[in-house]
Amino acid sequence: EDQVTQSPEALRLQEGESSSLNCSYTVSGLRGLFWYRQDPGKGPEFLFTLYSAGEEKEKERLKATLTKKESFLHITAPKPEDSATYLCAVSMTTDSWGKLQFGAGTQVVVTP
């Protein structure tokens, strides 16, 4: 069965304390892996797309990496404004374009 699992469920960080979020997937054929950020009461906001193992993408304090079985979202020296729920999603080659399967998310809280 195709699955997307995120860990941990929740993460509490001190400002400046770097950490990583994990997204592991078991799918029959990966077309792409996506990271989103979601603030409370809002829709998810696109961050990154990764297509192949070894690929990395960066945006400010965030860096996403991809292997054949999992993806990591590294948060370097986080600030309180990085507090959000981070969602991982996969697109499978067996699915229609744009159809995504989401993980349950990791809720990140960064305290001053």
């Binding site: 829709g43 998810p44 969602l87 744009g98 159809k99 989401f102 349950a104």
Partner: protein, 112 residues
């Protein structure tokens, strides 16, 4: 900027009522999606559409239907609302060029 708008941010309906949730996008995207989001379960796909008058069932279509009469508008219909349909509903639009999915702000529906 891509804009995806949803007709209501908050909605309270009674059991058995017919409920319409509307979504409009302004970027001429062919693909549009309806998800529901529940704590611990992540986003689950209800229905999606890849063209006007075309629709496909997602992972949890039971109790829902959709309508896509115009390219920019995708409506989700709860034929007879039930309490287990209390949830956050998110609409999304997909850009086939950038492969990004853009979300609306969500509608928090409560069925009493």
């Amino acid at each position: 900027d891509v804009k995806v708008t949803q007709s209501s941010r908050y909605l309270v309906k009674r059991t058995g009522e017919k409920v319409f949730l509307e979504c409009v996008q302004d970027m001429d995207h062919e693909n549009m999606f309806w998800y529901r989001q529940d704590p611990g379960l992540g986003l689950r796909l209800i229905y999606f559409s890849y063209d006007v008058k075309m629709k496909e069932k997602g992972d949890i279509p039971e109790g829902y239907s959709v309508s896509r009469e115009k390219k920019e508008r995708f409506s989700l219909i709860l034929e007879s609302a039930s309490t287990n349909q209390t949830s956050m509903y998110l609409c999304a639009s997909f850009d086939r060029t950038s492969y990004e999915q853009y979300f609306g702000p969500g509608t928090r529906l409560t069925v009493t």
